[in-house]
């Protein structure tokens, strides 16, 4: 049995009577890349919010490598090794690319540690290393607001690399990217995030095929199906849900 990095038991959240997630039992193994699928309103982003502490569950438990993290604040959860990339770029606009990576570094979060933090050569080197990996070394001193959409997405991936978390949560990482950039993002996930556990929400099926071994499908806040991509594609309930969704659209 592989170690479980993430486990939710009977997880529920209620927004004024609307059950965005109800009694969800979900688990992710150490080192696994998992894609979450589901039609609009299935509760995918809400699940991410619950895991990272942005939203507090109304019932149920979340465990990270066996530690109970239910109800903790985002800064406490990220200290335990959870990194998140948001849907659409969520970066620090009026700061340079270099500074963006600098603030993402782990381990300098107490106020006094941050005050007397000396930027050693290893750290500068590490940031330049990340800059090369995300192809932004020539824009290190540009303000992040002036980057293109794709570059901003890459920068946020770079910030995750700087943060160096055990569990990486990616919420539609390829939105606004060209097919080529999307493919490169997939490669990045496979190489740079190798050995880490990754949870991805994605709609781009080519991308899902590229990265995923296992897929979990949610529907109206509930667990619907889990399996390899072929199994899911041939699953009749999943087909039904998606077809219904399309006839609505």
């Amino acid at each position: 049995m592989a170690m479980k990095i993430l486990e939710t038991t009977d997880l529920s959240v209620d927004f004024n009577g609307f059950k965005a997630i109800s009694e969800l039992n979900f688990s992710l193994n150490q080192g696994e890349v998992r894609v979450i699928l589901g039609p609009n309103g299935a509760g995918k982003t809400t699940l991410m919010d619950l895991i990272t502490g942005k939203t507090k569950p109304t019932a149920g438990k979340i465990k990270l490598s066996g530690t109970d993290i239910t109800g903790l604040e985002p800064y406490e959860i990220s200290k335990l090794g959870v990194g998140r990339k948001f849907q659409g770029p969520n970066i620090f606009d009026n700061m340079t690319v270099f500074e963006n990576l600098e603030v993402a570094l782990q381990g300098y979060h107490p106020v006094f540690k941050a005050l007397f933090f000396k930027k050693k050569k290893e750290i500068t080197d590490r940031i330049y290393d990340i800059l090369t990996k995300i192809n932004l070394e020539r824009k290190a001193l540009n303000y992040a607001v002036n980057l293109s959409h794709g570059e901003k997405q890459w920068l946020e991936m770079g910030m995750l690399l700087a943060q160096d978390p055990q569990l990486i949560i990616l919420d539609e990482p390829t939105t606004g990217m060209t097919a080529d950039e999307t493919y490169k993002t997939g490669e990045l996930i496979e190489t740079l995030f190798k050995g880490r556990s990754v949870l991805v929400i994605e709609h781009d099926m080519a991308f899902v095929r590229q990265i995923a071994r296992m897929v979990t499908v949610l529907h109206q806040g509930k667990f619907l199906a889990e399996g390899t991509l072929e199994e899911i594609e041939n699953n009749s309930t999943v087909q039904e849900v998606y077809l219904k969704e399309e006839s609505h659209a």
Binding site: Y75, V103, Q106, H109, Y128, R138, L141
Partner: protein
Amino acid sequence: MRRVATNNAFGVLLVLFLALFPMFSSDFRLELMGKFIVFIIFAIAMDLVWGYAGLLSLGHAVFFGLGGYMLAISYSLQNGVPSFMTRFDITEIPTLMKPLQSIPAALLIGLILPSILAGIIGFFIFKSKVSGVYFSLITLALAKLFEMLVVNLQMYTGGFNGLMGLPRFPIFGEPMSLTAYYYMVLIITVLVYLFARWLTNSHFGKILKSIRENESRISFFSYNASNYKIFIFIISGFLSGLAGMLYVPINGFFSPLDVGLNMSTMVILWLAIGGRGTLMGAAVGTLIINWMSNLLSEQYPELWQLFIGVIIVMVVLFFPDGIYGTLKNRFGTYFDSLLNRKIDENMEMEMEKRDYANNLS
């Protein structure tokens, strides 16, 4: 790097000018300049909170006033029970005010009390996640509250009339000369500036900026934003109290106008005109606005406020980054391109070295 380069050139010139100022100015102008230099400290304190952490405090003069009143009351107590107290039949100095009889103690209290108050206010506001316009409104109410408190506690504070006829510069017992006091203030201001620059260039300063840019994001990188905000609020309260205290002897007068909404909005104005988030902009804005107000009011006693108003509107409309901010952006691009080219060269050399190493192996 670029910022250090431009800031240094400009800052050194400015300090040189201010250091030479006593040689060619009248005592009257020197006194004004001394006052404005004190205001720079206050503007820097405000810049740390507003320009760097993005917290628009509309009541920062509370800390300035608290520091100032501690010293002003201490001065009033030097010759026994002051007249504003005897008028209310107080024949003995109240126990709570006894420590203020000693000027050194008052100096210490004037620094510690604003810091503690800032800490308490910061703790309650930031721990309960109040932010944005609600933060501004709460601080606005605090400024009004403090102003009313000072006015209403007339028997202890001199009330609306303020504390008048304060002695000139007896900081260390013996009265100092105006020039000596001027240089002392200048040195303290330079030290405050250097401290603030160290603070904002540190990792801590970068986290502050990222709180300003995107507070919700930084908490997903393990940073507890409220601790950072409380800390910078305390530092800012401390520096504001320091400015308030240095202001008292050079002004010779301290009144509720210096603690409430009036002063709180003035400092915001100086920063907006100078350019927030640059530190040097705090100095530029403070000096320009104050000198302009003074010179224009001498020339056009009836119309000067109109002129100032027009100038302020023009700057805010056409130079939203402020005077110094705009200059920095213009010249900055030049330095930027130089520096980026250098980084490119470094990267290329690095790549070549790697390629070479790969070929060898």
